[in-house]
Every structure is written in C-alpha cells, then in structure tokens.
C-alpha cells in the first residue's frame, strides 16, 4: 500500500514488538550475561543484570575441566560430515527427480518424507543393539551415519524444490550445445543451483548440530557432541550455573548466527516446500 503509516502507530508497534522480542530473547541474553559471572554471582538474589564483576574464568574452566574442544569438534565433524555425505547422495537423487520425472517420482518423494516422520523411539532398540554389536556406540562415524539418514529426506526435498526452479530449457540448450550429462551438471546446473545448495547446507548443519535424541543415546564420553555434553550438566553435582552458561553460550552461538541468516531456508526446508 502506498499510504504511509502514521508515526504514532509505528511507535506503538515498535514498543510492543521490541517488548515481546526482548522477553522472548531474554533467556538467551541472560545465559550470555551469566557466563561472565562468578558462580556466586550466578545464583545471587536479587539477580544482577549488568553490574557485576565480569570474569572470563568460566570460559577457561570449561575447556580445562571438561575438554570442551573435543565435544565441539565432535559436533562439527558430525554436522559437516553428515551434511557432506547427504549432499553427495542427495544431489544426484534430486537432479533425477527434478529433471527426469517419471510416474513414480511423486511417490518416491512422499515416501522419503514419510521416513522422516518415523518416530526415533520406534527404532531405538535395534539401532542401539546393532551399534553395540558392531562397535559403533560412542563413535563419531556411527553418529554421522545416523544424522545423515535422518536428514537425507530434507536434503533431497530442499534440493528438489530448488532444482525445479531452474528452467529446463537452459539445460536443454546446454545439451544442444554439445554438453554431455557430466558437463551439463558441472558447467550449467551447479553454478545456477549454488544458492539452493548453500541453503540446504545451512539448514542441515543447524538440524544436525541441534539433534538431541540419537546424540544423547548413542554416545558416552568420546564421541559426545555438544548436545550430550550440555546434558551432562543436568546431574546435580552442585550449582555450576556460570560454567553451564559459558558452555551453553559457546555451544549455541554459531548456530544462532547461522540461523539468523537462514530464515528463508528454514521455512522452505521444514515445510517441505509447502510454504515459500
């Protein structure tokens, strides 16, 4: 609409919008602030918002006492690994269904979707036993495979919707111009699909990083990613809130930033293209 919004209305909405935004964001902000407090300050009553003795000891302790870097490495390896393998397998599959659709394409797509809806508890027992017998429990490899399998449907779906937006006649023109299939994918499809592929990567990194069922049940100490590491703070050994806050801040910061930049991708990926 070309009419301008009156300032008074803008002001009201600004106040409400910022108020609600602040309220919702508060827990994250509070965690961030608490990470710089001493343990005593962290549980102090009345709680101190900004005026306390800022310290970095928690961040140092988190690595010194509990090998934080190992868990971060685990998260990184598992997220990137599963996304990488997923792409390797998913890009060809999405290409096939987007550009050479057949009678069964629609069926295959919806079937893939249905595998994502399988409740993980339904297969907890056999997967746990299989992993135990094959020595995959508490290994990064085992977890990477599982992450890849549960996110593969989303990878394929997202790539499929992005590929479908590439005009077919550009690919046909490449064929007429003498490009073999491989060259067509390399020189024409991939450059045009890079934004779509990047979006898929972003969303999958986020989903794998935050996954909290298999990461909690299939790992112990060696391969535990950050989700499991943070979970270990739940056993009441005492109140280590400041350390918990430091560990949490480090664990969520990268994904928060990634997430802020991938809102559109999230919408497309998690609604399987139903909302764009």
């Amino acid at each position: 609409m070309a009419r301008s919004v009156p300032s008074s209305r803008k002001l009201v909405f600004s106040l409400i919008g910022w108020g609600i935004g602040f309220l919702i964001f508060f827990p994250i902000l509070w965690t961030f602030l608490t990470s710089f407090k001493t343990e005593g300050e962290a549980i102090a009553n009345p709680p101190n918002l900004l005026f306390f003795h800022w310290t970095l000891t928690n961040y140092i302790d988190v690595q010194a006492r509990s090998n934080y870097l190992l868990h971060m490495m685990n998260s990184i390896i598992i997220s990137f690994g599963s996304t990488g393998i997923g792409l390797l397998v998913g890009i060809p599959a999405a290409w096939a269904m987007a550009f050479v659709p057949g009678k069964r394409t629609k069926f295959i797509l919806t079937w893939m979707l249905s595998t994502k809806m399988l409740p993980s508890v339904g297969v907890l027992v056999p997967i746990y036993l299989l992993f135990r017998d094959w020595g995959l429990l508490d290994t990064r490899f085992g977890l990477t495979v599982i992450m890849m399998l549960i996110n593969l449907p989303i990878i394929v779906w997202m790539l499929y919707t992005y590929f479908r937006e590439i005009p077919v006649d550009i690919l046909e023109a490449a064929r007429m111009d003498g490009a073999s299939l491989g060259k067509e994918i390399l020189f024409i499809l991939t450059p045009m699909a890079i934004p779509g592929i990047a979006s898929t990567i972003l969303l999958n990194l986020i989903l794998a990083w935050n996954e909290a069922f298999w990461t909690l049940n299939l790992t112990a100490a060696k391969a535990a990613p950050l989700t499991a590491f943070i979970a270990s703070f739940s056993s009441p050994e005492g109140l280590f809130w400041a350390k918990l806050s430091a560990a949490s801040t480090l664990a969520i910061a990268p994904i928060l930033v990634l997430g802020w930049f991938s809102q559109k991708q999230l919408v497309r990926g998690l609604t399987f293209g139903a909302v764009k």
Partner: protein
C-alpha cells in the same frame, strides 16, 4: 548439407498419441516453417528432430545418416529456444563460446568465431554483459549467435519471437530472413503466427493434431488450400466460410471467400448486409458485415471506406475467387 528426412515418425506420451505418422523431407538450405494451432504437435516435432525427445517409432535421418537413436549433441543441430535459454551466470561472450568449448575447440579459434558472430549480430559492445542486463531483442540475438557459431547442419527455431513486442517482432523477422540469405543453411522454424510463416518461409508445413495437412510454398497454400482447415488457417483475417442455402446454390457444402476478395459498394452487388463493426486502420479498412441470409462476413479493402455502423452495403466476390468445398472439407 542440411537435408533432413522424417520417415513414419510417431510420438506418443504414455498412452496419448500426439503424432500418429509423419513423413517429411526437408531440402538442404531451405527455410521451412511448421505452423498450426496450439497443441498441433509442431514443437514436439521440432524437439524430435533436435533429439530432446525420443521417437516412439520411425526414423530420422540427417544428410543420409540415421540419427534416430543419437543424442542431441551428436546431431550437429543448433536450436534457438522460445525463452532464449541463455546461461544467466555467463557473459554474452561465454554464452556464445560455450558450444565451441564443449566441442573442444582451441582458445584462438573460439575467440575468432565468437567475435565474428557478435559482429554479424551487432553484439560486439555487449560481449561482457550478462543476459540479465540485456533487452529482449538483444537476448534473442545472443541466442542466435550461440547457434550460429556452431556452423550446424540446420537451425531449429522454437517460436523465437513470441516473447517480443510487436514492433520488435517485425524487425527480428527481417533479421532472421536476412540471416538465412547470408548463411544459406537449412532453417526449421516453428510458429503459431501464420504471418511469420507466410513472410519467412520457402515452404510451409501446416500441422493439425499431429498430422500434416499440407506442405507447400506460401502462395500455393494461399491459392490452392487442400482442405478447409488450411484454407481457414492461412490468411489474415481468416477466409470467410458460407454454408447452407447459399452454398448449395453453387453446388457445394461450404463456400470460401477471402476478405480481400470481396468488393463492397453502396448500391449494387451479389449479397446485401448491414455493417456491424468497422475497423479503420488508415492503410486498410476491415468491415464486419452481417449479411442477409448468410451470416457474418469480413471484408478487407485498401485505404478508406466511408461506411459506418448500421450502413447497408452490397458485397460481391471477385471473379474466380470463390472457393468451393465438399462435405469432407476438400475442394471441388
């Protein structure tokens, strides 16, 4: 070079037969146009020749070589798509160079050929731009340039002018015809616009529901249409068709007379009627007349005709220009 032969070509999509049986020989160097209403199969036929679709049965030969099972790349044909299909992430230069790069040509030769093509099409100053920065007509030329550099056996055009505005369309029509005279390569051109067909073609193939209705030069089709469909398709505005009592008077099922072959006067003539909608273009006048006992007829005359809505006028068909068709739609 550039002789293409289609033998008993059939195409079905699943259970639907789109093209039942086509036999056609395209001469070397000719400009042949596939024309017909939407859904008649003209684009499908072009894509079969290109190799972008497989024939269900039949044979396609290019210069005597059977290419029926060959992929597009090895048929040595070039195609200009309706949407131009330019590579958006490449400059004009790289777009035109792409087919040569795929053929493995060396850099100097590529450079020479690209610059030659660009010069022919007045694209030299745009070589560094991306398709997104070009106008419709310029993109059209890049698409043509990409086709020219390959020095193909034949050019395939799939409704290349439909996305251009009217003025540009006329200009590009001339450019393409000019190009044909220059290069003398076979050109197969698909369009639904019969004006394009008439003005550009050496021969026209009129298609209807997957079948060839008639093949011939533009004037052949104009003067001697083989059936009602062709008679009504070629010529703009459409040929007038008269059925009923008046047709029977001439011992035919249907009479056909073109708007430009009707003479109109205020006082005397063969048929009398009332003018409904007059269209004055300055150069011509079209009158849509409700003729007593016959129905609506369209009349075309040069220059100005001083008739208006509601006037009573007389129409007379020119000598020998009244075409007669029997019940099967074939000429008597």
């Amino acid at each position: 070079m550039g002789n293409i032969r289609l033998e008993n070509v059939q195409k079905a999509f699943g259970d639907t037969i789109v093209i039942p049986d086509i036999n056609l020989e395209i001469e070397e160097g000719e400009f042949i146009v596939f024309v017909g209403p939407s859904g008649c199969g003209k684009s499908t036929l072009l894509r079969l020749i290109a190799g972008l679709e497989d024939v269900t049965s039949g044979r396609i030969a290019i210069d005597g070589r059977d290419v029926t099972s060959q992929p597009p790349a090895s048929r040595r044909l070039a195609m200009v798509f309706q949407t131009y299909a330019l590579y958006p992430h490449m400059s004009v230069y790289r777009n035109i160079a792409f087919p040569l790069k795929m053929a493995g040509m060396d850099k100097e030769s590529i450079d020479r050929r690209v610059k030659e093509a660009a010069a022919t099409l007045n694209l030299t100053q745009y070589l560094d731009r991306r398709p997104g920065q070009l106008s419709g007509g310029q993109r059209q030329r890049v698409a043509i340039g990409r086709a020219i550099v390959r020095e193909p056996a034949a050019f395939l055009f799939d409704e290349p002018l439909s996305n251009l505005d009217a003025a540009l369309r006329v200009a590009m029509r001339l450019e393409i015809s000019e190009l044909h005279h220059q290069l003398k390569t076979t050109m197969i051109y698909v369009t639904h616009d019969q004006v394009e067909a008439m003005t550009m073609a050496d021969r026209i193939v009129v298609l209807n529901r997957g079948r060839i209705e008639q093949v011939g030069s533009p004037l052949e089709l104009y003067h001697n249409p083989k059936n009602l469909f062709v008679a009504g398709f070629i010529g703009s505005p459409k040929m007038n068709f008269i059925t009923g009592a008046e047709a029977e008077k001439h011992s035919a099922h249907t009479l056909g007379v073109r708007p430009e072959h009707l003479h109109c006067t205020a006082d005397t003539g063969t048929w009398q009627g009332t003018v409904h909608v007059p269209e004055h273009l300055g150069s011509d006048t079209f009158l849509h007349v409700e003729v007593d006992g016959i129905g609506p007829l369209t009349v075309r005359t040069d220059g100005e005709m001083p008739f208006n809505y509601g006037d009573r006028i007389w129409l007379t068909p020119q000598e020998g220009k009244l075409q007669k068709f029997d019940t099967n739609g074939e000429p008597l």
